[in-house]
Structure formats: structure tokens, C-alpha cells
């Protein structure tokens, strides 16, 4: 049995930023219960049901009322949460979980092995149309050994399973709630989890009201304190506009905001009365161009490499984000233990060479607008960016790259904001050309699989895909040994970058700005995003 397997991660890390941002003398104070807090967030979740939601920003809200089976620590270790301990069989196919016996759902139902089994089976059932079903592809069945013991059996080893169980997407809901039908997406008390806050009400377009769960005794292993949350109530307000969010915080209408645009950072960073916090870039993938290398002209590796190296990505990222995010070298986040650090400095910003290989590839002509042409056709690739995912000035960054490629190479990188529906259709037919994205937090191998693996965006044309890349990713997913998995994931990242199947742009992170009286803000390692408000308290000024 291999218990509590984990990877030791490099020192430093995301929490440095936290320490930097918090002004001195804070630590002397004792947490104080009571009060209420207003949190301005960027995104109004389309659905509050964790098992269905695919919006990463929805999890900031959902985490407050939903717990997971296990907790992922900042150092990559898995800590107890609703499960107190677990064992994994040597073949990696059987997991035995021991559960807490003192947990109740918000609707009064008892949490036990039966409830847990119901959750997994419910998610797995296709008729329930749960997005989280993707995380349980290897899941076969669960057996209730006792009210506090559950055995999960897999069809094949899955190195990403604990990661999946720590994910909020497999958050545990009351079976009664799940059985109640299709309304869980719209939140409210009916959406009963076990979290530190109870979902009191939802006003569409405005806010979510949360109330402290007085019974809460089962905080995750990484929590700063046990017992109920400090805050009496919390209000999550949806403020989709940058300027509006910043304005709301600076004019005292909210206490905390998430999503601060670069030019607004100076408003809060180092300013008296405010604090500014930067989250880790480990769980989600970096913002990356995924290139459909089965469609001309991107089927020519020289075109892809020219695209990869033709622009000054570091300069652009600096220019657009003013130093608040880092330029990316791989699509796996730099603070992820599976990040291939060797890729740093290995590519990019070489217009001379990019021009040379384009000449070599036959794109030698120029049209009236100065773009390269070959056989009368312009060297052009379209970036189809689904509108719902456009945020964080990412379209601006793409426009910047667009301008550079045009100037440096005569390469026509088109940006088109498309609808999500159009993207879905393109994906079904593998007619997309470049898809820019960051992917939901998951196990690194799983992330690779979902993005550039056989099951990734290219799946409709997987027959024409890169077999070597697919092999590496599949092997990594099945690996039971961490070191072996790490090597395979590294190799897959290297292949993807070398072949320019992807062009990583920057490592996204969450940023919080808050009044300096708000204490205990932190980020959840599994999500990169702000943790629940369980540890947050308000200092008197």
C-alpha cells in the first residue's frame, strides 16, 4: 500500500505573494468571529451545481458550500477532508476511504458511505448529464463496506483519481438534493452540500447570499482553523466589469474583489487601506494556443514554429499585464509539480529564424497588404476565441501577437470571437484552427489528455494526430509511479512545444484586492482560485 503519496514541490511558490502583500503587524492579532463580508467576483455562474458547472470562476462561489472527499495541499500532498484516510491497492485499481462520522448536509441529511456512493454513481450516470462525469472515466463501482467505509474500484489504474476526488467538480451533495431534480443549477438552500456556508439565496444578475454553517467541524486539512467559519454571512456580488469592480472596492461598496486588471493594480497594491494578493499558477493550464495541426497551413511544422517564434511573447505579456502574470513556457502551470522547467528559454522570439523557415516552406510571395503568400494563397490562420471565455485582456494579448506576426513575418493571424456553440461545432468536426484556452484544474496528465491528447480538442481528427504525443499522455495517465509519471508528462510537454502543437502564452493566476481589514484570504491549491471564506475574518480598524 502506498499511503499519502505526494510530490515534494520546489520551495518558493505562490504563497510568497501572500506574505508580501500582507502588511506587517497583522499576525499579532487574533481571529475574531462575526461580521459580514461582500465579495465582488467577475463571473455569475451559469450553474451552481459543482458536478455540472464547467466555469472555473463558478467554483470561487461554490467552494463556500461544497466540500470534497480529500483536500489538495499547496505542496501537492493530499490531506484529509470528508475522508479521514485512504489506502490504494498496489495495482492502483482499488481505493478504500475511511469517512468522518460527524458530517451532516445543510438539509439535515447525514453524510456517510451510502451518500458518497450515491454521489459517484449519480455523476457517472450519463442520463444525469453531469460534466464531472469526465473525471470518473476510469471509475467502475463503489461498495459500502460500512457507514464510514467506501471502496472505489477502477476499470484501470488512474494516477489522477485523488486529484479528481479533491476537485470541487466531484464535490459532495446531499443525495436528497440530487434526487430532487434539475433545479440545482439555480442554487438556493436546496443545493445542500456540507460546506462552511449555507447557500441562502440567489438573486440573478446581482448576488448570492451565504450564511455560516454553525455545525461545521470538518474543515479541510489545509485550513487555518477548525470549527465554523468566522463570518456570520457573506455576499457574493457579480460585477462583470473591471472598472466597476475596482470602483466598487475603492468606493467601499465591497470588501474583496477578484480579477483586477493590470492598470488597476496600482490602485490597491501597496496602497494604504488595501491589500493585493496574487494566487498560484499551478492547477490550471497556462493560457495557450492549441493548434489544429491536421489542417493546412498548420500541418506544416515550419509554419507552426514560425508562429511560435515570430513574436516577442515575453514583451507582449509584460506590456499587457504590466508584470502581474508570467510568460509561459509550457501549457502546464509553472507551480505545478509536473511542470517541465527545462522548457524555459528553449523557444520563442526569433523572427529571423521564423522568417527563414517560412521562406524555406515556400511562403515567399507577398500580397498587397504585405502578407506572405504561396500559390496565390495568403499565409493565414484564424484564432477562434469563444466569447464566453474572453476575459483578462486575453483578446488584447492575441491582438498584440497578431500585430507582431504581421509586422515581423507577414503572417496573418486572424482573431475571431466566436460563439460557444460555434466552437462546439468546430470541435465536433475538427475544423477549428487555433483554440486559445486555459483548462480547468485537474491532474497534469489529465490536463494534457483533455487538451492535446487523444481525447483532446483534436479528437474528431485523432486518426491524423500525433501518435507519439498520444502515447506519452496515455502512458502518463496510467502510470502508478509518480517519478515515471513525471517523466512521461515532461516528455509530452516537450514534444508539444517542440512540434509547436501548442504556443503557451502566459501563466494565469488569480488576483485578489481587498480592504486591509479583511484577514485570512488564501488560495486553494487544487483550483488556483481563492479558497472558501472559511478562514476569513474581519479585523477592526
Amino acid at each position: 500500500m502506498i499511503a499519502h503519496r505526494h510530490l515534494r514541490r520546489a520551495a518558493g511558490g505562490s504563497f510568497l505573494a501572500l506574505a508580501l502583500a500582507a502588511p506587517g503587524a497583522v499576525f499579532a492579532e487574533q481571529p475574531k468571529p462575526g461580521g459580514s463580508l461582500t465579495f465582488g467576483v467577475t463571473t455569475e455562474p451559469a450553474c451552481f451545481n459543482p458536478q455540472r458547472s464547467e466555469q472555473q470562476n463558478s467554483f470561487i462561489v461554490i467552494r463556500n458550500f461544497v466540500d470534497s472527499l480529500v483536500a489538495k495541499n499547496a505542496d501537492g500532498r493530499f490531506l484529509p477532508w470528508l475522508a479521514t484516510s485512504w489506502t490504494i491497492s498496489p495495482d492502483g485499481k482499488t481505493y478504500d476511504f475511511k469517512l468522518r462520522d460527524d458530517v451532516t448536509f445543510h438539509d439535515g441529511e447525514k453524510f456517510d458511505a451510502e451518500a458518497l456512493k450515491f454521489n459517484f454513481d449519480f455523476i457517472k450516470e450519463p442520463a444525469n448529464t453531469n460534466a464531472a462525469g469526465q473525471l470518473l472515466l476510469a471509475y467502475e463501482k463503489s461498495e459500502v463496506l460500512s457507514p464510514t467505509e467506501l471502496r472505489v474500484t477502477l476499470k484501470r489504474p488512474d494516477s489522477a483519481l485523488l486529484e479528481a476526488f479533491s476537485s470541487i467538480r466531484l464535490g459532495i451533495l446531499s443525495p436528497k438534493a440530487l434526487k430532487s431534480g434539475d433545479r440545482l443549477c439555480s442554487g438556493g438552500p436546496a443545493l445542500a452540500g456540507t460546506g462552511p456556508f449555507v447557500f441562502q439565496s440567489y438573486t440573478r444578475g446581482q448576488s448570492v447570499q451565504l450564511k455560516r454553517n454553525e455545525a461545521y467541524r470538518w474543515a479541510p486539512g489545509y485550513a487555518a482553523h477548525q470549527g465554523p467559519a468566522y463570518l456570520d454571512t457573506a455576499t457574493i456580488r457579480f460585477l462583470p466589469e473591471y472598472s466597476v469592480r475596482a470602483g466598487a472596492l475603492s468606493s467601499d461598496q465591497v470588501d474583496v474583489i477578484e480579477g483586477v486588471q493590470p492598470i488597476d493594480v496600482a490602485l490597491f497594491k501597496g496602497q494604504p487601506g488595501f491589500q493585493f494578493l496574487v494566487g498560484p499558477s499551478g492547477a490550471q493550464t497556462s493560457f495557450t494556443f492549441n493548434i489544429n495541426y491536421t489542417i493546412p497551413p498548420a500541418d506544416d511544422v515550419r509554419v507552426r514554429r514560425a508562429l511560435r517564434d515570430g513574436g516577442d511573447i515575453a514583451g507582449l505579456v509584460q506590456g499587457v499585464y504590466l508584470g502581474t502574470v508570467r510568460r509561459a513556457w509550457s501549457n502546464i502551470g509553472p507551480e505545478n509539480p509536473f511542470y517541465n522547467k527545462a522548457l524555459e528559454g528553449s523557444w520563442g522570439n526569433d523572427p529571423k529564424k521564423a522568417n527563414a523557415i517560412l521562406d524555406e516552406a515556400g511562403w515567399t510571395g507577398r500580397d498587397a497588404e504585405g502578407f506572405r503568400i504561396k500559390d496565390g494563397k495568403r499565409l493565414t490562420i484564424e484564432v477562434g476565441y469563444p466569447q464566453p471565455f474572453v476575459r483578462d485582456n486575453r483578446d488584447v494579448l492575441i491582438q498584440g501577437l497578431q500585430a507582431q506576426l504581421r509586422k515581423n513575418l507577414g503572417f496573418d493571424l486572424k482573431l475571431r470571437i466566436i460563439t460557444a456553440g460555434e466552437w462546439a461545432q468546430q470541435r465536433e468536426k475538427a475544423t477549428w484552427t487555433i483554440y486559445p484556452n486555459t483548462f480547468l484544474p485537474a491532474d497534469a496528465a489529465q490536463e494534457l489528455q483533455s487538451n492535446i491528447g487523444e481525447q483532446g480538442f483534436i479528437r474528431a481528427a485523432a486518426a491524423k494526430g500525433d501518435k507519439e504525443l498520444f502515447r506519452l499522455i496515455n502512458a502518463a495517465l496510467a502510470a502508478t509511479d509518480v517519478e515515471e509519471k513525471k517523466q512521461l508528462v515532461d516528455a509530452a510537454q516537450k514534444r508539444a512545444v517542440d512540434e509547436a502543437f501548442i504556443v503557451p502564452l502566459f501563466s494565469a493566476n488569480y488576483q485578489l484586492a481587498a480592504k486591509d481589514t479583511v484577514r485570512g484570504l488564501s488560495f486553494e491549491a487544487q483550483l488556483d482560485s481563492p479558497s472558501s471564506l472559511h478562514d476569513v475574518w474581519l479585523a477592526s480598524r
Binding site: A46, T129, A131, D182, T203, Q206, V244, Q253, P388, A420
Partner: protein, 310 residues
């Protein structure tokens, strides 16, 4: 004497609104079927789950013949069942219903404000010296010609960011309604004031105004008692158009000020291809518009006895 034509007009209006509803529902049905791609895909919009398409096909009865589907579609919408948003996974009626109030609040506040501003501007400047008229009509022209979102941005810049008099966003209290309502009201007010003043000046040249002056009435009294009612007639005619403008403008204004309401819901629905929601909002807006127009017709008849006689 006056009730019958009134009833007839209201009845005609209602008939029109039923026609409008039927026409738009039919158009929507035809559009759904005429579009390239399968209806399941169109309705699924953004998201994709295993089993989703099958669920949609079952719910919309896509296995049946087109006439059957059409009858079913019309019947469902007639019973206010707009189905389920597959993107938001909630009944459309709930989604839209919860958002109507803030939008109506905004549109109504803006409409009232526009009315007050326009009446004041027109009454104070109609037929007055060239300077007052020149200034007023220039201001009105600018208001009527400036995009509502630009006005909103300028207002935010001045009163929220710089002066900090009003909150930046939201729908928490009356204060948060001020700037959006002003932004939405100004273009309408500009246009309305122009129409009103034009009408007032025409009215002021009417013989019965001379008659009224000859009875010793003062200028203000003449404007309030005689002129305003006449000037209201063309303004009321404009009313239906204005309500449409206010509803449409509210969508944009809500976006600028980050207010909740139909605007945010609709825009999201458009961007996520959430056809059921968009359809419901559009039909609702048409309904509000028609209802308001009917009301305006009644107002028109109440003001002008000459129409009642016909």
C-alpha cells in the same frame, strides 16, 4: 359615446398583439428549422453533456412531423412555457421572470425622467428668444444623437469615478439607479423635447391660443392649460417607439453600469447561443411594447375628443 371606439381600438390592438405573437413564434419556428445544423445543436448552445441532445430531442418532440411540432411549439408558448435553457439548465420563465423587474424599473425611471426633462425644456423654451431655443435645441440634438452607452461612460467618469457621488454599479438602492436612468433618459428626452417644442410652437401659433390670451390668461397658464395637451399628441404618437427604444436601450445601459436585468441575461444568452432564453426575452419585450402601445392609444383617445367621435 366615447366608450365604443375606445373598445374597438383596444380590441384591434389586442388582435394585433396576438398577431405579433403568432407571427414571431412562427418566424422563430421557421428560423429554427431553416438554420443549418440540427435543432438539438442549436438549442444545446454552449454546452455539451452526454445525453443532452437526446433529452432535447425528447422534450421538443423532434421525432414527430413538422406540423405536429409546430402546433406543439405554438401551444407551449401560448401557455407561457418557453422550455428549459440548456445552457443555464433552468426553466426559461424563471430566468427571465426574475430579471424583468430591474429592467422595467430602469426603463420606467428613465421614461419618467425623460418625460419630465422634455416637458420642462419644451415648456420653458418653446417660442422664446432665439438664444434659449438655440441652446436648448443644441443640447437636445446632442443628447438625441449621442450613443446611450457613451453617455453612460461619460456619466460614470464624471459622477462615479471623479466625484464619487454615485455608486459604480449594481441595483442596491435608489442611488444606483440614478446614473443609468439619466444615461438612458437623455437621448429619449432630447428627442421628445424636440418633438414637444415643435408641437408647442405650432400650437402657440394656433388661433385658440390668441383667444386664450385674449381672455387674460398668462403665458405659463396658457402653456400648461392649453398648449401642453396639444403638444402631447405627437409625443404620445412617439411613445410606442420610445418604449421600444427604452427597452432596447436598457439592455445596453445595464451592460455599461453592470446592472442586473434582462440586458445581462439576454446578452449572455445571445453569446452562448441560448435560443430559448433569447426567444423568450424578445417575445416578452414585444408583448410589453404592444401592451404599452395599447395603453398609449387609450391615452391618445383620452386627450383628443376629436378621435373619439369617429
Amino acid at each position: 359615446m366615447s366608450a365604443r371606439p375606445l373598445l374597438r381600438r383596444v380590441a384591434a390592438r389586442l388582435a394585433t398583439s396576438i398577431l405579433v405573437a403568432w407571427g414571431s413564434v412562427t418566424t422563430a419556428f421557421v428560423a429554427l428549422h431553416a438554420l443549418p445544423g440540427k435543432i438539438e445543436d442549436i438549442l444545446a448552445g454552449d454546452l455539451e453533456y452526454p445525453g443532452l441532445r437526446e433529452a432535447i430531442a425528447a422534450e421538443w418532440g423532434l421525432d414527430r412531423s413538422l406540423p405536429e411540432q409546430y402546433v406543439d411549439f405554438v401551444a407551449r408558448i401560448a401557455s407561457c412555457d418557453f422550455g428549459v435553457s440548456y445552457v443555464l439548465r433552468q426553466p426559461v420563465v424563471e430566468i427571465v421572470g426574475s430579471q424583468v423587474w430591474p429592467t422595467v424599473q430602469l426603463a420606467a425611471a428613465a421614461g419618467a425622467l425623460a418625460l419630465v426633462l422634455a416637458v420642462l425644456a419644451a415648456t420653458l423654451t418653446a417660442g422664446r428668444g432665439p438664444l434659449a431655443r438655440g441652446v436648448a435645441s443644441t443640447v437636445e440634438l446632442v443628447c438625441a444623437s449621442a450613443p446611450v452607452f457613451w453617455i453612460g461612460i461619460l456619466l460614470l467618469m464624471a459622477f462615479s469615478f471623479t466625484l464619487r457621488w454615485f455608486p459604480v454599479s449594481g441595483a442596491q438602492n435608489w442611488k444606483s439607479l440614478v446614473l443609468p436612468a439619466v444615461a438612458l433618459a437623455l437621448p429619449t428626452a432630447g428627442l421628445l423635447a424636440q418633438v414637444l417644442r415643435e408641437a408647442m410652437e405650432k400650437t402657440l401659433e394656433q388661433p385658440f391660443i390668441v383667444t386664450a390670451r385674449a381672455r387674460g390668461l398668462g403665458e405659463t397658464l396658457i402653456r400648461v392649460r392649453h398648449v401642453l395637451r396639444h403638444a402631447a399628441l405627437p409625443a404620445v404618437t412617439l411613445g410606442g417607439w420610445m418604449i421600444g427604444g427604452l427597452l432596447g436601450g436598457a439592455v445596453i445601459t445595464e451592460k455599461v453600469f453592470g446592472r442586473p436585468g434582462l440586458g445581462a441575461v439576454t446578452l449572455n444568452a445571445v453569446l452562448t447561443h441560448d435560443v430559448p432564453v433569447v426567444l423568450a426575452v424578445v417575445l416578452l419585450a414585444a408583448f410589453i411594447h404592444v401592451a404599452a402601445s395599447t395603453l398609449l392609444d387609450v391615452v391618445y383617445l383620452a386627450i383628443d375628443p376629436r378621435l373619439r367621435a369617429q
